[in-house]
């Protein structure tokens, strides 16, 4: 059994309480949500926080709701809850696609949306999914709250816009007429992505009016592909253009070789999965509009 170094433990009962505890313990403290990244890192002693602030009992962070034309997902929503949420799936099926492929049921029962985003692993699926649909992080601090677009949320590997005395309380996504999908290649169920792509589309007639492309594990800056999105908007939604968009996205990635594969393979996957995700989103778009 791997055992962590000594640490203080505090259980926060409200967001305000959590923020005050963060102030009390300072930068060497860490928020623990599902604990599926932080606890293993502590056991391996890659992380040795002096204090853990447990936010599992802050029930106000658990909700999935629609508020002011936004889908709101609380930071403590478990992966399994997002996967089971008809509300989230109705507006953004990309979340169901991604959640089916995140880790395994045991991890999904415990791991949280906020924890995944704040961990900011370069291979995190939800980072790409939220980037694709242009989600926004809701961050609270002592004096109030601020909104940071997910596309500006990540400061680098394992670094986010959340400051030392701040707490990510939720993520919101503007609801609009759109279709979305997620595609991932993994070596085995539960493994981190070798590469993955999320796509969101809104069409006007046969023309792409809005496109969102999220990418993970391939070194895409802030988990998205703005050049490919720009290319798509204003043109027809065809397989050829999706393939070209995939190539453009791949050209702007900087994948790193590791035991999941060499860089050229990951770049190839970035292109392939982008095109596939766009194709899947388009199918959904047509499916909805035929129903209507």
């Amino acid at each position: 059994m791997q055992v962590p170094a000594q640490f203080q433990y505090e259980k926060a009962t409200s967001v305000a309480h959590a923020l005050s505890l963060l102030g009390k313990y300072g930068p060497e403290s860490r928020i623990v949500a599902g604990g599926h990244s932080l606890i293993p890192m502590m056991k391996l002693r890659l992380a040795q926080p002096q204090a853990l602030i447990d936010i599992n009992e802050i029930t106000e962070l658990n909700k999935i709701s629609v508020e002011e034309h936004m889908l709101y997902i609380g930071a403590m929503v478990r992966h399994a809850e997002l996967l089971a949420s008809a509300l989230a799936g109705e507006h953004f099926p990309i979340f169901h696609d991604a959640e089916k492929l995140i880790a395994d049921p045991v991890v999904r029962n415990r791991g949280t949306v906020g924890g995944s985003l704040c961990q900011a692993d370069p291979s995190e699926d939800l980072s790409a999914a939220f980037a694709a649909v242009r989600g926004e992080a809701v961050i609270e601090y002592g004096e109030g709250r601020r909104i940071v677009p997910i596309r500006e949320f990540f400061a680098g590997p394992y670094e986010t816009a959340v400051g030392d005395a701040e707490l990510l309380v939720g993520v919101r996504v503007p609801i609009r007429s759109s279709a979305s999908a997620y595609q991932k290649v993994e070596r085995r169920a539960g493994d981190w992505a070798v590469a993955a792509a999320g796509a969101e589309l809104r069409l006007e007639g046969d023309t792409v009016a809005e496109a969102g492309i999220g990418l993970t594990a391939v070194g895409a800056t802030n988990f998205h592909a703005p050049e490919a999105e720009e290319f798509l908007v204003g043109g027809p939604a065809t397989a050829e253009r999706f393939a070209r968009a995939g190539e453009i996205a791949a050209e702007h990635c900087e994948p790193v070789a590791d035991q999941r594969g060499p860089a050229d393979y990951k770049r190839h996957l970035a292109a392939t999965l982008t095109a596939r995700a766009l194709g899947a989103a388009l199918s959904r778009w047509h499916g909805r509009h035929q129903e209507a």
Partner: protein, 790 residues
């Protein structure tokens, strides 16, 4: 699967007796052992693959308020315990004194009042290392300028361990020289790990008053361990008790003795308290017995119409930093000699060279039957390579070359006597089960549409049940097994065995053998194992040897009891023993079936005042030692069907048919469970599992995030079939089966993926066939799967 409502009186499906405690969470594993005053140990490990130790400062760790002892290699050297013998007559450092030779090697041992403090204190030990160039790539280990790893051995100037050969070189070369077709292929069976879910550990308790050492430990071979502790530590063997409680998976990983075990013993001697040491997941993956790591160059000779004539192979075997391979002494390459497989050929020859590298020691672990996994993989890949070159159907090519039933017992060209088999029948059954011809028709259509679908066939012959003591020993200990059977007055029985279950269901299977022989219900038979003070000597459970050796011992000892019961029955019935006849559970008078006595009645009488014939002892208890006359040779035909995503390289195993022939099946449910597990294991090796190392010798698979075990998501619903060809020399006709599926399935999966890639001109690619490996192979630029991907 059929379930059993009542317990069979002998062979048949029945639920496992041990599962009652396991499914209720009442198993008792080493880490569950807690003793009064027990202390906890932790091992400091080397961050370097190869480095000189300049100094070790333990003063800060010793000053930790909860630390009771800090042990270094230097301290062990004072006790003559710094080095210990391996299972291959090499030595291995218990704690490093001069150099570290692999990443994760044991450097110091801390004993503290709790596990957390022991771990904390490791960070207080200051080791000054001078890094040295490591030998990572086995193919460079024998280069003239390669760093010498084992400079602890006087006079050693290179990394060469052994050369070994088998077969007739001259005859083989002659056949090759005259062959119409020769196919050649290099292939790697990469380094993998048994990865039992329970890691290794021990609780050592040296009683300072009696001088008796009790050690609870994760061992597949408790008796062999006891003898080794006696030899290593110089302790008297009767003062050592090895207890192997419930074991959470072994797969060969728990055959050898690890430095942590020895350190826990030393820690207990030094502190006078019991010391527990249980390694963590990374320690298990990085430092304990690996498996495989064979770099093979295969050649196969045939006629133009596909009659296989000869097989030739050269192997470079990476044994890591210490030669710790577990195998019978005369077999430095294990039983790799069965590489001629299941085919009727004229000649064969193999050369194996073992080398040291800066990697963990061990070898021949992981359900491989002493390197038969490598041998089967080699020959089954070579047959497929030949099929590729000849453009022949691989099933047809196999059928054409399989040994025929009338050739058994078959003397192989490398000196093995295959005991029994009907190979064509088994292959035919697998082809029928999978609907082979229909699959080939579907494949042709899919290929026309540009889709990649593959059908992989593998046929294996195993050689298990080591072994005849004349030929097989481990460190001088012959591989025969004892058995002891006590029948209580009320007819309930206790069977004591030397083998140790790690999940195989011994408590059920061996009770069923006694039941079959004596007619006592398995529910009335307790199987005792895993405690050297309570069981007879024997070599333990690995290499699928439990049923072939201890299973035979069980049948033999039960028959001894039966013969004793016959004499008691004759006294009870007042007839001559010659007038008695046995039916399951009772002796009766020939020609008068109503006049008989049940085994239970006989047991009571044997313990009573009944007058027995002159010279006949009372009671029914018996002991025996079984020395197997030969190995048993289970075999099987496996067929795997895959769909490969050409764009991403992802492999989906659509179907898998496994027809196993392991002779007589004692408990078919347990056999099927073992096959299921082994198939998943093999699929894991074929598609995802590997321990690769970067250029500095860093282990790239040190956690379950990086070393991937297959899950149910990757496994199809296995479809099994069976044929039964009894072993002619085993008392109940059984053969070992524990490793069959692990041995046979990797080749089936790999053959299937390569069959799928055939339209892309891919003839071979090395395991594991991850999406990246498949895609790169299809692009024509495969990478080395044993090194860091760049």
């Amino acid at each position: 699967m059929t379930t059993t409502e009542e317990t069979p009186m002998g062979f048949g499906r029945m639920h496992r007796k041990e599962d009652v405690r396991f499914v209720r969470g009442h198993g008792n594993y080493v880490d569950d052992v807690t003793l009064p005053g027990m202390l906890h140990g932790a091992v400091l490990r080397s961050p370097y693959a190869h480095a000189k130790i300049l100094s070790i400062d333990t003063s800060a760790a010793e000053a930790h308020p909860k630390v009771r002892a800090v042990i270094t290699g230097e301290a062990l050297a004072g006790l003559n315990l710094a080095w210990m013998p391996t299972l291959s007559n090499d030595v291995q450092a218990v704690l490093a004194t001069d150099k570290v030779r692999f990443q994760g090697q044991e450097v110091a041992f801390v004993v503290a009042e709790d596990r957390y403090s022991a771990r904390d204190a490791l960070e207080l030990i200051d080791v000054d290392y001078e890094p040295l160039a490591p030998v990572v790539d086995a193919r460079k280990a024998l280069d003239p300028d390669a760093p010498v790893i084992r400079d602890d051995v006087e006079g050693r100037t290179d990394n060469h361990i052994f050369d070994w050969e088998t077969g007739d070189k001259a005859r083989t070369d002659e056949v090759f020289a005259n062959a119409e077709v020769v196919a050649t292929q290099d292939m790697l069976y990469p380094r993998v790990h048994p990865a039992p879910l329970e890691t290794c550990g021990s609780v050592a308790d040296m009683d300072p008053i009696t001088g008796k050492l009790t050690i609870w430990t994760t061992t597949q071979a408790p008796h062999a361990h006891r003898t080794l502790y006696a030899l290593v530590a110089g302790l008297p063997e009767h003062k050592i008790r090895v207890i192997s409680p419930d074991i959470g998976g072994g797969f060969g990983n728990k055959v050898g003795i690890y430095p942590g075990y020895v350190c826990s013993v030393v820690g207990s001697i030094l502190t006078g308290k019991p010391v527990k040491w249980v390694e963590d997941r990374s320690e298990n993956l990085m430092s304990t017995s690996f498996a495989r790591d064979y770099h093979m160059h295969g050649e196969i000779a045939s006629t133009k119409d596909g009659k296989i004539q000869a097989i030739r192979v050269k192997v470079l075997a990476d044994h890591g930093a210490f030669n710790g391979t577990a195998q019978p002494t005369k077999y430095p390459a294990g039983f790799f000699g069965v590489f001629t497989g299941s085919y009727d050929i004229e000649a064969a020859h193999a050369e194996v060279t073992g080398v040291y590298t800066n990697k963990a020691p061990g070898g021949v672990a992981y359900a491989c039957s002493f390197r038969i996994t490598e041998a089967v993989y080699l020959v089954e890949r070579m047959v497929d390579v030949l099929a590729y070159d000849l453009d022949m159907d691989p099933a047809e090519l196999r059928m054409k070359n399989l040994l025929k039933p009338d050739q058994f017992p078959y003397q192989s060209k490398t000196g093995w006597e295959y005991d029994s088999g009907d190979y064509p029948r088994t292959l035919r059954m697998a082809l029928d089960l999978v609907h082979y011809d229909e699959l080939r028709a579907e494949q042709a259509k899919r290929r026309d549409a540009g889709e990649l679908m593959g059908i992989g066939v593998a046929f294996f012959t195993e050689a298990v049940g080591a072994g005849p003591r004349k030929h097989m020993d481990i460190l001088g200990l012959g591989m025969a097994d004892g058995a002891e059977l006590r029948v209580h007055p009320t007819g309930k029985a206790v069977l004591r065995l030397s083998v140790q279950t790690q999940g195989q269901g011994h408590e059920t299977t061996f009770a069923q053998i006694v039941a079959e022989e004596l007619g006592i219900s398995p529910d009335d038979i307790d199987v005792v194992h895993g405690d050297t003070d309570q069981t007879p000597f024997g070599l333990g459970t690995y290499g699928s040897r439990s049923t072939p050796v201890s299973g035979a011992a069980t049948a033999v000892v039960a028959r001894k009891v039966r013969e004793r019961a016959k004499i008691v029955a004759s006294a009870m019935l007042e007839v001559s023993p010659d007038d008695l006849e046995w039916e399951k559970g009772r002796w009766f008078v020939k020609g008068d079936p109503a006049a008989g006595k049940s085994i239970q009645d006989i047991a009571m009488a044997a313990h009573s005042g009944l007058e027995l014939p002159e010279g006949v002892e009372g009671h029914l208890d018996a002991t025996c030692v079984y020395n197997p006359p030969n190995l048993t040779y289970p075999f099987g035909a496996y067929i795997c069907v895959v769909d490969v995503d050409a764009e991403t390289g992802q492999v989906k195993v659509r179907d898998f048919v496994a027809v196993d022939d392991c002779g007589v099946r004692i408990n078919p449910m347990i056999v099927e469970g073992q096959v299921h597990g082994g198939l998943a294991d093999g699929l894991g090796m074929a598609l995802m599992q590997v321990m690769a190392f970067d250029e500095d010798g860093n282990h790239l698979g040190g956690s379950f995030m990086d070393y991937l075990l297959p899950t149910s998501m990757e496994c199809p619903s296995w479809r099994l079939g069976e044929t039964v060809t009894p072993s002619p020399h085993h008392p109940i006709g059984a053969k070992g089966v524990g490793e069959s599926a692990t041995v046979g399935s990797p080749a089936a999966v790999v053959n299937a993926v390569l069959d799928a890639l055939k339209p892309r001109g891919v003839r071979h690619a090395d395991m594991p066939l991850t999406p990246a490996a498949v895609w790169c192979a299809a692009q024509g630029h495969p990478f080395r799967t044993d090194l860091a991907i760049t």
